[in-house]
Amino acid sequence: MDDGFVSQYLSLFDQFDVAAAFWVNIQLTFFAGILALVGGTILAVMRISPVPSLRWAGSTYVTLLRNTPLTIIIVFCVLGLWGQLGVTLSTNFQTNFFRLAVVGLAAYHAAFVCEALRSGVNTVPVGQAEAARAIGLGFWPAARLVIFPQAFRGSIAPLGNVLIALTKNSTVAAAGSVAEASGLMRTMIEFRPDVSLAIFLTFAAGFTVIVVPIGLATTALSRRLAVAR
């Protein structure tokens, strides 16, 4: 690597706003993450409820969405919901695409959030519930004081993995015409194919910098809060 290469590489950052593109991915992840958490919690409650029709509806949703490629869902949001049904979430063209992508990402990842929460409930041994009942706790006190606190701790690690997957999958929003990191990388490589490896490594490093702390934090948190059994 001579001096010319480095300065050429650095000059790319004057022409392209890499940070802004990553900021779009972070925003996609943030909003889709919140929506997916809400939707996934509702689905998880449905799936662990004693009401058969709710259980059926919850598990049908999870089976359908989990087995569909995210790319199809995002393309569906843009070409199907917007293009064919005329669903508009904003009068601004760009914002509309952004919100449609958020809806698609959230709908897909809600299924995974549901499974993460459910696996948390499954880590609670039956004996805990039996003991709670034996000392006279009803359904709500037992759920609130004994089962949910343990279930929540058990689901931190899987939820962290869903968040990591969501962060990486936010690049798929490129299929929905959202200008984000993978799209910018494509433009930059097309513009400067001679330094394509350096550009790729820059973007890869960007994602690593976002993903690794999430992994470290959730791993540390789930270890610290792990229920000693």
Binding site: R47, P50, V51, P52, S53, L54, A57, T63, N67, T68, P69, L70, T71, I72, V75, F76, L79, G80, L81, G83, Q84, L85, G86, R118, V121, N122, V124, P125, V126, Q128, A129, F139, A142, I147, A157, P158, G160, N161, K168, T171, V172, A174, A175, S182, M185, R186, I189, P193, D194, S196, L197, F200, A204, F207, T208, V211, V212, G215, L216, T219
Partner: protein
């Protein structure tokens, strides 16, 4: 029943209440479904001319089946290459040499942290610029490379966690009968680890199959692309995408059931514990 931790066996009173709740919830769920259908109906999306194209042979022979063939081809090649990558780097992570372990660990963690789409775009444009691949094969090569590196890293992690999940006695016994450590890995530990990991490997096939759809973004003519072309020819993209999603769901559901079946069966053939899930992203790994 999944809620068995939470709920006691219901008595007559609770059973009556649950029947009511069930009926109410069923009406609500059916109502939401009906509302969606009515909305679609008023927008004219249920008209038969938008749906009947999928009943004709032409739609299948000219669009959907060729698209599916491309999808399955990319997935099939990637499964084999990712398997090879996984075994090589999985063994690398278990190697006695610290240098090999560190390098393999870094490679695996890197490819697990980078979005697959980023790799596909890089290989698509990068290899295209270098002119090392025939331009018509370029999208396929890029898709396969992206899927291989990511899923190979996941497979490597499966191999490693499978070996770590074996009881200590397996290795001790192998060493006691005079095998070297590498022989013990090759002859005793990895085969058992692979069997224990078969269900998780089968579930990873679902991920590979779904991720082939990313090839759509780099102009790979897969099922999604075929559905889009078919849809834009007839003005029914939404319906075409739903049909494509349906095909994916059927295949993936079958694969998931197969993985579950395997998890129930292989338990007897290994000292390890069979699981149906891929190991989680471990960032701070404590190498043994």
């Amino acid at each position: 029943m999944s809620g068995s931790v939470l709920f006691d066996a219901p008595g007559p009173h609770a059973r009556r209440r649950m029947r009511w709740l069930n009926a109410v919830a069923a009406v609500v769920v059916a109502g939401i479904g009906a509302a969606v259908l009515v909305r679609l109906g008023t927008k004219g999306q249920l008209e038969s001319r938008l749906w009947t194209p999928f009943l004709t042979g032409d739609a299948w022979t000219n669009f959907l089946l060729p698209g599916l063939r491309y999808t399955l081809r990319a997935a099939g090649i990637s499964i084999v290459t990712a398997g090879i990558f996984g075994i090589v780097f999985g063994l690398g992570r278990l190697s006695a040499s610290r240098a090999v372990r560190t390098v393999s660990g870094a490679v695996v963690e890197f490819f697990r942290a980078v979005p697959v789409l980023l790799m596909m775009i890089f290989f698509y444009l990068g290899l295209g610029h270098l002119h090392v691949v025939d331009p018509t094969d370029l999208p396929l090569v890029a898709v396969v490379l992206g899927l291989t590196l990511y899923n190979g890293a996941v497979f490597a992690e499966l191999v490693r966690s499978g070996v770590h999940g074996l009881p200590r006695g397996q290795r001790e016994a192998a060493l006691a009968v005079g095998l070297r450590r590498s022989q013990s890995l090759r002859i005793v530990e990895v085969p058992q680890a692979l069997i224990a990991m078969l269900p998780a490997l089968a579930s990873q096939l679902v991920v590979i199959l779904k991720d082939t759809a990313l090839g759509y973004i780099i102009t790979y003519p897969d099922l999604l692309d075929a559905a889009r072309r078919l849809g834009s020819a007839n003005g029914n993209i939404m319906q075409a995408l739903l049909v494509a999603a349906g095909i994916f769901i059927v295949i993936n559901y079958a694969l998931t059931r197969f993985a579950g079946l395997l998890a129930g069966r292989v338990g007897r053939r290994t000292a390890g514990r069979a699981r149906a899930e891929a190991p989680t992203l471990v960032v701070a790994t404590r190498d043994s």
